[in-house]
Structure formats: C-alpha cells, structure tokens
C-alpha cells in the first residue's frame, strides 16, 4: 500500500515511537482509510437517507421504498460494516508497520 520513502518530518521521529518513518507512513495510510470510510458514511446517511430519498423511493427492497429503508434500516447496517472494515484494515496496518500492541 504505502511505499512513501520521503524523510520523516522532525516532529514525527519522536522518542517513544519505535520508528519515526514507520509512524508517519502509518498515519498517512490511516488518514487515507479514514477518508474513504467517511465518504461512504456520508453517502449512505445524508445521501441515500436524506438528499436522495425521493429518487431512491422509486425502487423497492422487499415491500419497502428504498430511500425510506436506507433512512430507517440500511444506513445502520452500513455503519456496522464500516466499523468492521476499519477494525480489520487497522489491525492489518498495525502489523505491517510493526506497531501492533502485544
């Protein structure tokens, strides 16, 4: 994923973190993951559940209108998936950068 080799900024090579470069690459990957997950978070709730509710209501899931379903059910399921993806990806990232706790 992240193969940045740019020198770490002075502040990031602080005492206490095992490796400054690793920590800053880790942080960049983390921010990238966060932004993509938050885009999905925004789209399902404010997008599908509020702004696009009318056009989506033209479709159905079971016997319910899709936009309404997103607002009362679907968005919550997607939130759960988002946190699950975050947990898995961050654990992978921790290991990759040697920052996993014991």
């Amino acid at each position: 994923m992240s193969t940045e080799t740019e020198p770490a900024s002075p502040a990031s090579s602080t005492p206490g973190t095992s490796s400054g470069t690793d920590a800053s690459a880790y942080w960049k990957s983390n921010l990238r993951l966060l932004s993509s997950l938050l885009v999905v978070w925004f789209v399902v709730s404010f997008g599908c559940g509020i702004l696009l509710v009318e056009p989506l209501n033209a479709f159905r899931i079971g016997e319910a209108k899709l936009g309404f379903w997103f607002a009362q059910q679907g968005s919550i399921y997607v939130f759960l998936v988002l946190i699950a993806v975050y947990v898995v990806m961050m654990n992978r990232l921790d290991r990759k950068h040697g920052l996993r706790e014991d």
Binding site: P15, T17, L80, G98, L99
Partner: protein
C-alpha cells in the same frame, strides 16, 4: 371484589415484582463482587474490560429510558422524520470509532477533561471542559431518574417518588461501591435484560402482523399472520404501503413520505434542518463524555476499535427493531380503534353484523392515562384523525374523578375528562377537529405485550427492561460527574497532593451527592429538563467534539484556539437555544431554517472556524505537546509514559 382485584393483579404484578426484584438482586450481587479498590478501578475499571463486555456496557450506557420506551413511539408518530434519530444516534458511533476512541484510549488517562487539559496545557481549558461535562451529564441524569419513577408507578403502582427513591438506592449502591468496575459489569447484565425485554414482544408482534419472526424483515414484508391477515382483507399488500394508506385516510401525511413529513416538522426549507439535526445528533453522540469514557476501560487500542464495533452491533439490535415496532404498533392501533364502538351495547341494533368494538386492552391503558377518548360527536364510536383531540396545560388528558378518587365514567363506560373553557385551567379544551383519540407515544412499547396478548411474564419483563435502560444510563452519567469533581477538579486542579485513598473517597462522596441531586431532580422535575436533554447533543457537538478532533488530527492546534473555540461554539449554541426555546423566538427567524435541535451543527462549525483562526494567529504548541500528539496516533510505544504515576497510598 377486593380479592378479585388482588388475584387478577397478582398475575402481572407478581411477575413484575419477581422479575424486577430478580434483576435488582443480580445488580447488587455484581456490585459486591466487583468492588473498586483503587482510583484506576473506580474511574476506568483498571483497563481490564474485555471489548465484547465493553460493547454491551456501552450499549446499556447509551440506551436510556428514552431509547427503550420512547423511540419506537416517536418513530410511529413521526414516520420518515423519525429517521433523524435512528441515523443520528447510530452514525455517531462511526465517528467515535474512527476519529476518537482509539486515540483517546492510547492517551490513556481517566476522563475527557484530562485529555483537553493535557493536550492544551491549560487548567482553564480543563475547567471549561469539566463544566461542560457536568452540565451535559446532570441534565441527562435527571431525565433517567424520572424514567425510573415512571416505570415503577406504571407497572407496580408504586408512587413515583417512592419509585425514584428505590431506583436511587440501587444506583447509589453499585455506583458508589464499585465505580466504573461495578457499573461496567452491571451494565453488561442490564444490556442483556433490556435487549431481551425489547426483542421478545417485537418478535411476537412481527409474527402477528407479517408472519415473519424477524422484526427487521417483517418491516419490509407483506401483511400476514393472525392480525395482519385480517388487516389486509385478503389482499397481498406490504405493511408499509398499508400504513401509508391508513395514515392518508385519517388525514395524516403518508408514513414513508419524506417531503411531507419534513415540511410538516420543519417548514418548506426543511431539508437543511433535517440535515443539521442528523449531523448534530451524530457529532453530539461522539462527543458525550459518558460514552467516550467507556473506551478508556479496555486493555489496548485495538480493543477500543473492536469495542466500538460491538457497541454499535448491540445498539443496532434495538435501533433496527424500533422502527419495525413503531410501524407494527401504529398499524395495529389504527386498525383496532378506528371507528370502533366503545362498548358492544353502543352498537345500534340495525347495523350490519360484525361491527368493530374496541379490544380489552384499550380500557386498561385508558386507566393509565396513555389513551383517552372524548366522544365529540356523541356517536359512541372512536374517530381517530389527524390533529390533537384537545389541548390542556400539560398536553395530557385530565380525567374526572369523584370525591373519593374513583373515576367518573361516561354512558359507554369510558373515562370522562375534565373539560373547561380555559386552556390554562385544570381541564382539557376540546379542539374543533374531528379527532377524538389521545394516544401517548410511549404506548407503542409499553402496551405491545398486552396488545399482542403475550403471557404476563413478558409484561413484567418489559418493566425490568425499562428499569435496566434507565438505571444503566444514570450510573454511567453519575460516574462522569463524580470523576469530574474528584479527579479533574480536586486532584488535577485544586489539590494535586491528595493521596489516592483520599481521592477515592472524594470520588465516592461526589457520586453519592450526584445521585441524591439526580433523585431530587427526578422527584421535583423542573419543567425545562426534557427540553434540555434533547439539546444536550447540540451542546456536546459544539463544545467537545471539535476540540478533541483538532487535538488529535492537527498538531498546530493550541491552547488559545481550543479555549476560544469551545467558548464561542457552546456560547453560540446555548444562546440560540435560549432565544428560540425559552424566550419566544419563532420559526420564521430560524437561522437558515435550522431549528434549535439542529443548531449544534452550526455551533460545531463556529467552534472549528474560531479555533483554527485563533490557533493560526498565535504561537504553535510546545514540542512536548506535539510529541504527545505523535504518540497518541500510533497504537504501540510511548503509551505507558503517559500512565499516571500513582503515589503510594499513605497509611493514615
């Protein structure tokens, strides 16, 4: 007569006493088993809580009496508009999991003001945070104690005051004795009680109306089952489609129609408002101190992430079932009461066979004041239509009773209301619309077991569930209040040399005083509490959230920025709420069409804007602080350096 009433009462009440008593004994047992021996155990359960257990505890901590009893009812009356609560109160956990929980766990102290004070190297910032935390938590806890009293009075026919005192005694026992450790494990038990109590009736109602045992799937299914089949009258029609139709026949906006529901609630520019309310609830959820503090109790950063997943899963079990219960309850209630005769005798002899008469549960819930009927046109049938049936000082029915307190009944046996000509008077003033039926929204959860003709133990279970929801939230809030006083105010600000032993006693004392204060607010509720509870989210959104986010994600953020941001954010939000909630401001003057419930979103933006601008105009924070920020961003290393050095306890 007396023995009959006693014998009939023992069934439901006996079960209720048994189940409530059993659950209370369980909480006390757990409290004795998990006594706190140190401040670390008292504040954060010694960081030894398993992520799964913490997830359950967070679920119980978060879901209050309002979630358990009130939410399905709010949704069943608000239809689509109820979505703002569903999305707002779950979407906040995404923000919490991704943006706050792992980093605050790595920071690893005891409280939210700890983080604010240390990150911004300022006692002033810490004290501002303490005041925000106490204010938000105290308004919230008063509502919980009131909820305890209401459940007691409704199910056990105990006086509200006595109910509050019993509830207070229980919370006092395990919060003061066990601190966070005791609270955590009682909350795990309370979660199990409340989710079981919510799910059992939901499954049965779902079967009755859709023949589908899973409420979340019944919600999107066709009508079927014992009751649903009758309602569909042989037609294959979706539950929600039928409900849309029923709503429209009675003059309400269709249940699932977004624009109509939004305009009814927030005016023509409603979309901005819906957007703002949802965001304010999400951000407020992520910024509430009693929720954040739960993530300090797990052993590692990755446990904090996992814990957030479990928490949302456990919350979602109730939050996805609630809209289903709301829709089922409304469909069933409309069908059962619409144009039904109050008594079989009132049905005219010449009317066709099979005229509808109200079901038995109608009368028992009339006795509790959750239903009331005022026969405006004198035809002996219940007309349920859009609009309030009457107005009164409390917006609730006022039942007539004679001098010895027994109810006065009308010609059909219905409870009569006190009617007067003056809205400020002691009675109700009938409105001139066609609606004759008053329905308290709490009925959707409380009456479900009875409406579904479930066994008596299920009704007792719902009472125990409502109490579990209220007590668990109250305990979590009390802990925030007690740590804010003993740790943030005394130990970190006023008396840094205090021994651990003294601090533990101060913490217990603060929890004790807090619980008594909350009980008093529960017994003598000031009129504004309910209003303020709903607005606590806006205050949390506009104060804590931006300061914590910037503290983690922007190293350049400094003390001046944080303090000015917090003060401007919460000042703007509180001022707006005061103007429009308490000083008679009207909807026409709302800023950008945003209601006081949604203004926290703007307050948050004000906090961000002011904070960032001021930080850029003043000196960057010290190298030490920048190192602290670096260290909280990674899970491993430097963590233990920030553990608090606990001085050895003196033998005094």
């Amino acid at each position: 007569m007396g023995t009959l009433a006693l014998g009939a009462g023992l069934d439901v009440q006996g079960w209720t006493f048994l189940l409530v008593g059993f659950s209370f004994a369980l909480y006390i047992g757990i409290a004795i088993w998990s006594r706190a021996g140190s401040t670390s155990e008292f504040y954060i359960a010694g960081k030894g809580v398993h992520p799964l257990a913490n997830g359950m505890a967070t679920g119980a901590d978060w879901m209050s009496a309002a979630s358990f009893i009130g939410m399905a009812g709010i949704i069943s009356f608000a239809g689509y508009f109820g979505s703002v609560y569903l999305m707002g109160w779950t979407g906040g956990y995404v923000l919490l999991a991704l943006l706050l929980a792992p980093y605050l766990r790595k920071f690893g102290k005891f409280t939210v003001p700890d983080f604010v004070g240390d990150r911004y190297e300022s006692s002033l910032a810490r004290v501002v945070a303490v005041l925000c935390a106490i204010f938000v938590s105290f308004t919230y806890v008063a509502g919980q104690m009131r909820g305890v009293g209401v459940v007691f009075s409704r199910f056990l026919e105990v006086d509200i005051t006595l109910g509050v005192i019993i509830g207070t005694g229980i919370v006092f026992f395990y919060a003061v004795l066990g601190g966070m450790k005791g609270i955590t494990y009682t909350q795990v038990a309370q979660y199990c009680v409340l989710i079981f109590a919510f799910t059992v009736p939901a499954v049965f109602i779902s079967l009755m109306l859709t023949d589908n045992p899973i409420p979340q799937l019944g919600f999107i299914d066709t009508l079927g089952g014992t009751v649903g089949g009758d309602i569909a009258r042989g037609e294959s029609i979706g539950l929600l489609e039928k409900l849309d139709g029923l709503n429209e026949e009675l003059g309400f906006a269709a249940y699932t129609a977004a624009p109509q529901q939004i305009i009814a609630r927030s005016g023509p520019k409603g979309y901005t408002d819906v957007f703002a309310i949802t965001l304010a609830l999400m951000v407020g959820t992520a910024g509430l101190p009693h929720v954040i503090i739960r993530f300090y109790t797990v052993p590692r950063v990755r446990d904090a992430r996992m814990s957030a997943f479990w928490a949302l899963l456990f919350i979602a079990l109730l939050y996805t079932a609630a809209p289903a219960v709301g829709a089922f309850g409304r469909t069933n209630l409309i069908e059962a009461t619409r144009d039904a005769y109050y008594s079989a005798e009132a049905v005219p002899a010449d009317s066709p066979a099979g005229e509808k008469v109200i079901p038995d549960w109608f009368r028992s819930w009339e006795d509790t004041g959750l239903l009331a009927w005022i026969d405006k046109n004198g035809d002996g049938r219940i007309q349920y239509r859009a609009g309030a049936p009457f107005t009164s000082a409390t917006s609730k029915p006022v039942f007539a009773s004679d001098s010895d307190g027994s109810p006065i009944r009308g010609e059909h046996g219905q409870r009569l209301l006190v009617v007067d000509g003056d809205a400020g008077g002691a009675g109700v003033v009938p409105t001139d619309n066609a609606n004759e039926l008053f329905i308290d929204r709490d009925i959707m959860v409380l009456a479900n077991p009875e409406i579904a003709r479930l066994p008596n133990w299920v009704i007792g279970l719902v009472a125990a569930g409502g109490l579990a929801a209220a007590l668990s939230t109250a305990a979590g809030l009390l802990l925030v209040i007690s740590t804010a006083v003993s740790h943030d105010l005394c130990k970190r600000t006023l008396a840094p040399n205090m021994t651990e032993k003294t601090e533990l006693w101060v913490a217990r004392g603060a929890a004790g005083i807090g619980v008594v204060g909350a009980a008093l607010l529960g017994i003598y509720p000031p009129g504004f509490v309910a209003e303020v509870v709903a607005l606590a989210f806006g205050l949390a959104a506009s104060s804590f959230f931006p300061v914590i986010i910037l503290g983690i994600f922007w190293k350049r953020m400094n003390r001046a920025g944080a303090i000015s941001g917090m003060l401007c954010g919460i000042g703007f939000t509180a001022g707006y709420i005061l103007k429009f909630k308490f000083m008679g401001g009207t909807r026409e003057d709302w800023l950008l069409g945003i209601s006081p419930e949604g203004i926290g979103t703007i307050g948050m933006l004000v906090n961000f804007a002011v904070g960032i601008t001021v930080a850029l105009l003043t000196a960057p924070p010290s190298q030490e602080t920048q190192d602290l920020v670096e260290s909280i961003r990674v899970p491993r290393g430097a963590g233990e350096a920030h553990e608090m050095q606990v001085p050895p306890a003196h033998a005094d």
